[in-house]
Amino acid sequence: MRAGIAAEFADADTLLVAIQKLRERGLKMDAYTPHPMLELEDVLGLGRSRINWMVFPLAIGGAIFAFLLQSWCNAVDYPINIGGRTLYAWVTNIPITFETGILATGLSAIFILFVVLGFPSLTHPLFKVDGFERASVDRFWLTVQGEIDPAELMRLGALRAVPFGVAP
């Protein structure tokens, strides 16, 4: 899974053209760029992330939990009579219900993101590749997993193409 060829490109356009030429071949590719590039996700054929649908039930669940908790505490378990006001006023539960729903959204979104991305992943075979540290500065990297010759990537304009994640 974590082995293949890593190739460095000097600019984004060469990288995009290279990916377009390779995409017919059914290779598993990923690109590493110093700034977000929407075009990359198109040429790599990555769809829209579905994390939002995983977060949604948890967000609603958090809100429902907060609403029920408040109702149960103040109306069922220990009703407090304050100046003869109604014991169960659901309207006053709304602010905390809303805030807890937001909190549940934020916490579950981060948690799911980290699970999906495998974070924290402080060690990764790519970090051992010479020059990969410039992927966060000004270079564009491509990884290809599958049947490919590094020389072919060089012909597509790569500055270098090296294997990564090779078993010792």
Partner: protein, 448 residues
């Protein structure tokens, strides 16, 4: 469109190094001096807080009838300042305002540190802060639960959610830049530390799509959140029956004031920072002018809210509401805070109609400081002046701040600056990857 939001066309490497220089370059003398002074001020703050805990809140100027004064004023003021950070990072993101890019990171940091200051006050004003957990529903041996019909538990939920969500939003926004810092770090120890906080970010396109979704989700939830927080804070006042507090206009009025004061603080911080760190090509005159325009726009909403509130006081036909305005606010003890508020937030802000003012950084800086103080006096006049003179003249009183009040108030200013200077030194405060994206957007020819 006016001035550009990004000047020049440096290489990505030069741009990275320019934006990382504040954290990897030598510490400047200014930084050391400010850091030292604010550190001493922070120690003073914590000393005074300990003193308050040890003796009790009698060391403050609070009394009967003015039980809420500086602490709650500071709470509302600081949390209001936080709002502009979220506004810039979330609302302007949803509206795809490209100019927000260079200033959103430090505006978010400002939010975080302002909310930190704000969160101190509900705790220390309790008098018995070690019982603060009573506001949280936990299965107590007494079997009693918090009263959720009160606005105070709402406050706990709103402020703690706001802090948590702001922190997470800020942190996930930081990941790509922490990775750049890791990859450019000059020493091994810095490389390891930034590496740990970067969590292994590689800028992978497969990661980016999930990352962008979550970042967008955060912007989506932070937008209603920021509107809710000050609405909940205003409910602390609005759901009471005190004249001057009991008003349905409070939630939108407080939110407008919060964003107004927040943008003033953004300008107060941004103008010196871009000069000291020579970032005029990234944080351009356009940014300064846009912030000035937003200050004017929100200032007009605030002005409208003031007059709406005064009008409602009269139109309600309630003698106490009207007396609150014409006696308690306009002529009572400490009435100068009310008149200063009008002078700064209603009159002084009108100078921003002039393009000459909006393009003169020094003038903007001075005006925003006056307005920052004006927003503080606004909250003070709402809180303390209304409490001083409520229904029965026999129970009227006056508030006189004690030196501890002043010390804690200025102490939070020092603590804020202290945290902010730590941030400027250790965290890339202009978002590198987003500025690069913006640069490539503006200079597409660079893609050969």
């Amino acid at each position: 469109m006016g001035e550009p939001v990004f000047i020049g066309n440096p290489s990505d490497e030069a741009l990275s190094d320019q934006l990382l220089d504040p954290i990897f370059g030598p510490k400047s003398k200014t930084w050391r001096v400010v850091f030292l002074i604010s550190g001493i001020g922070t120690l003073m703050l914590f000393g005074l807080i300990l003193f308050t805990f040890y003796v009790g809140i009698g060391v403050w100027g609070v009394n009967i009838p003015v039980g809420w004064a500086f602490a709650i004023t500071n709470f509302v003021w600081w949390i209001g300042i936080g709002h502009a950070g979220t506004f810039i990072s979330a609302i302007l993101l949803l509206f795809e305002q490209k100019w927000r890019t260079s200033i959103n990171r430090f505006a978010e940091a400002m939010t975080l540190f302002a909310v930190t200051q704000a969160a101190l006050f509900p705790l220390i004003h309790l008098g018995r802060p070690w019982f603060a957990y009573w506001l949280v529903p936990y299965p107590a041996t007494m079997r009693v639960w918090p009263n959720f019909k009160s606005a105070l538990p709402w406050d706990v939920a709103a402020v703690s959610t706001y802090f948590t969500v702001s922190l997470l939003f800020w942190y996930i926004g930081l990941l790509p830049d922490l990775a750049t810092a890791r990859d450019r770090a000059p020493t091994r120890i810095q490389r390891v530390l930034y590496g740990i906080f970067a969590l292994g970010w590689r800028g992978s396109a497969r990661h980016q799509r999930h990352y962008r979704m979550v970042y967008g989700l955060f912007a989506g939830i932070a937008t209603p959140l920021v509107l809710s927080v000050h609405s909940v804070v205003s409910s602390d006042f609005a759901i009471t029956i005190l004249p001057g507090w009991h008003s349905t206009i409070f939630p939108p009025y407080f939110v407008a004031g919060a964003i107004f004061s927040g943008f003033c603080m953004v300008a107060t911080l941004m103008i010196p920072i871009r000069r000291v760190y020579r970032l005029q090509s990234v944080i351009t005159a356009r940014h300064v002018e846009n912030v000035a325009k937003l200050i004017l726009a929100t200032g007009l909403i605030v002005t409208y809210s003031y007059f709406c509130e005064y009008y409602l006081a009269w139109y309600s036909g309630d003698q106490y509401e009207l007396d609150n305005l014409i006696h308690a606010l306009a002529r009572g003890p400490n009435a100068w805070t009310f008149w200063y508020t009008i002078g700064a937030n209603v009159l002084l802000v009108q100078t921003f109609w002039s393009k000459r003012v909006r393009t003169n950084e020094l003038v903007i800086w001075v005006i925003t400081i006056f307005i920052n103080i004006g927003m503080w006096t606004e909250r003070f006049s709402i809180i303390a002046l209304s409490l001083q003179q409520d229904f029965l003249p026999s129970s009227w009183g006056a508030f006189h701040p004690s030196p501890v009040d002043w010390g804690i108030t200025f102490g939070t200013g020092f603590f804020f600056v202290f945290l902010f200077f730590l941030f400027l030194r250790f965290i890339p405060f202009v978002p590198l990857s987003e500025v690069k994206e913006l640069k490539h957007h503006l200079n597409p020819r660079e893609h050969h």
